[in-house]
Symmetry: C2
Subunit: 415 residues, 2 copies
């Protein structure tokens, strides 16, 4: 048992932060036992670690990140999407046929993810099985609750990054089978997006989903181009989500729809019916000029929204920066589209912690029984201007840097 003394902030719900100034959080083994403003007498003899004026918050979840694009973060960001993909991203992804390259990158990626306070993630790999296995092993070894996908692309892709349909299906099943019983890093089906997958491939992925009870992550209505292209490719599908529904890919959880910028009402209906999550990647979608998610109105329609760094279309691994970018972008959206509303910091923080955490086991908040996956943040306050705990958290998400993360806990252990 460990007791930590500090201020504590987590999301109670979408509209409320639970905030304790200088309280005690009792951690038994790997889970939160309780939070107390005055320490109960039964704990009086226990060791107390005093984090003074630091603040304890839940570790973040990153629900859309391309690990193989990690070497490319913050580069060629003024290019247009097509040039960025064809000149940078696709040639980079092709390098993962070299497992030594994959080892170097995925080890560095995993360490940097944790350094930035992300302890749960939904991760894209590439089309390559050996490299994808390495990515899974890196995350499993570090006990990162995660969903990892070997990517499928069998049409409309560069020759050096295109799979034969049958091979793609066979390799996907091998990948799923190999990792299905992992404790932390689990497989998820990952068709890149509708324009790069034949319907035959998607249907076979649907069978794998059913056979192994695995979920799916993909890009959904990310751009106007992608939305229109998807509908063109799949005769008889009225929207992007319907393609995956018809292929039988939405019947197993989690369902992770990255971007979700231009959804029709039917896309929204299908996502909600299958308990899916829309993933907001604010910096990414503006870096590659795809558009801005309607965060406010989607929240008001009870769509579940979580946050993604989308490395390397996004430039920061730190999800905290995406929380502030989500608020800022919602203001721009409301400025240009009068029927949209801006979102609050509380809503954005909720998306990146408690809401995203629902995809995993007992993470994202400090309610009793949840894993103590936590960050201790500090050095964010000036002597001449004292802040409330929730203000320290807001400043961290807006103006903070990775050096403001002073301690990291995963399942109760400092790492």
């Amino acid at each position: 048992m460990k007791i930590y003394h500090a201020s504590i902030v987590y999301s109670k719900n979408k509209d409320e932060l639970q905030e304790f100034e200088k309280a005690y959080i009792v951690v038994e083994n790997d889970r939160v036992e309780g939070i107390y403003e005055t320490l109960p007498s039964e704990y009086e003899d226990a060791e107390i670690i005093d984090f003074k004026n630091y603040v304890i918050i839940p570790a973040f979840s990153d629900l859309h990140v391309h690990a193989p694009q990690y070497p490319q973060r913050g580069l060629a960001m003024d290019k247009l999407l097509s040039d960025w993909l064809n000149d940078y991203t696709f040639p980079l992804e092709a390098k993962y046929k070299d497992i030594n390259y994959a080892k170097d990158v995925y080890n560095a990626f995993t360490k940097d993810l944790i350094k930035h306070g992300t302890m749960h993630a939904a991760v894209f790999s590439t089309i390559h099985n050996p490299a994808s296995d390495i990515l899974v092993e890196c995350l499993e070894k570090e006990h990162i609750q995660s969903f990892v996908g070997k990517v499928n692309m069998d049409i409309n892709s560069p020759n050096y990054l295109k799979e034969d349909t049958k091979e793609s299906i066979k390799n996907t099943e091998l990948f799923v089978k190999k990792h299905i019983n992992n404790k932390y890093a689990k497989p998820i089906l990952t068709p890149r997006f509708a324009p790069t997958c034949s319907f035959e491939l998607l249907e076979e992925l649907g069978h794998i989903a059913k056979k192994y009870n695995v979920g799916m992550q993909t890009h959904i209505v990310e751009s106007i181009w992608e939305r229109d292209e998807a509908k063109k490719c799949y005769d008889g599908c009225k929207c992007d989500m319907e393609i995956y529904e018809k292929a039988g890919l939405l019947n197993n959880e989690p369902i992770i729809a990255a971007h979700f910028i231009f959804p029709s009402s039917r896309d929204i209906k299908i996502l909600k019916e299958h308990n899916g999550f829309a993933i907001h990647c604010p910096d990414a979608t503006t870096n590659v000029i795809a558009g801005i998610m309607k965060t406010g109105s989607l929240l008001d329609k009870d769509v579940k929204i979580a946050i993604g760094s989308d490395i390397a279309a996004g430039q920061y691994l730190g999800i905290y920066h995406q929380i502030s970018s989500a608020v800022r972008l919602s203001k721009i959206k409301a400025f240009y589209e009068k029927k949209e509303r801006s979102i609050s910091f509380t809503e954005a923080f909720y998306m990146a912690t408690k809401e995203a955490g629902k995809i995993f086991d007992y993470v994202g908040t400090f309610e009793k029984g949840y894993y103590f996956d936590a960050l201790v943040i500090g050095d964010l306050e000036d002597d001449f201007h004292k802040l409330k705990a929730s203000e320290i958290v807001e400043r961290f998400c807006y103006s903070g840097e990775v050096t403001n993360i002073k301690h990291r806990f995963l399942r109760g252990k400092e790492i």
Copy 2:
């Protein structure tokens, strides 16, 4: 004489970076003597400091920053502008009647500015003379080339932050007189913006401008509200810039027009006629939902644009983050307004270094004779993915943190 061995990047012009991989920069006393790919024989015996794979870039200039708002950075950023000003900013600015508070804040602000690589700045103070003097002294002591303004507000302001017109004029002249012969931190006239200044006040400031040959900084067409309000207040003025022109405030340099989001063609014409600078503060204008500057089309009209952090409407002191935000915002602008274009990283970097530097003496580039005001940046490259020097600079501006600034030089001296 000092010789530094490293890669070197600076702006040649708006459209070109000057990039040297592992070269030698010779600094004589406080200025750049030259950059050499091979060291000339005359320097062979000189001491060479090898920065290995680090990159040397010019220190940044921040041309719009509110020092008194420093304690408020990254707070209440999901509020609307009016609430943010009335509930947070104005009450905070009123605290600067206490000179001890001013000392604490302005010392911390100056240190943090330098830490973030900004060595030249145009700074707003508050209406208070003693506090404004302290701000000037802090910057002068650190040899920061800067323009500092005691703020004027005599109408439409909260009672606790409103000046009597005559007092405002008298105090402004005292402030200008006191600092006019400073070596580094010089006075600049700083009417907050047209809606908070009577025309009588502006005209008298015009006389001070002429008498002491001092320039002006203010907020120009920052928001639709401000643009319309300004025109209402000043009968017979067709646009915001014209108010200051009529008041005789545009005849002395520098002229610094912060934000410049909704300029009419007349605003643009007047700004250019007086050799003024439009200051882009990308995060700030989206945090407070004012709008997005038309960076691309203004550049194409040869408007001089520099960059500002606009603390505390902006959340980062580091100008490098505003360079990347400027590119990202220009992409959003082009997405929503088809006649606008996105800008390149090279253009944004130029704005924050060489263009902004023109307001000061010999800074913003490493041409011969320029002061060696420089940052040495590093730890931005992965072993498995080597980068060109200009890519390291781009990654710094997109994904970097203050810890990536390894050394800082001001006038040839490491600080």
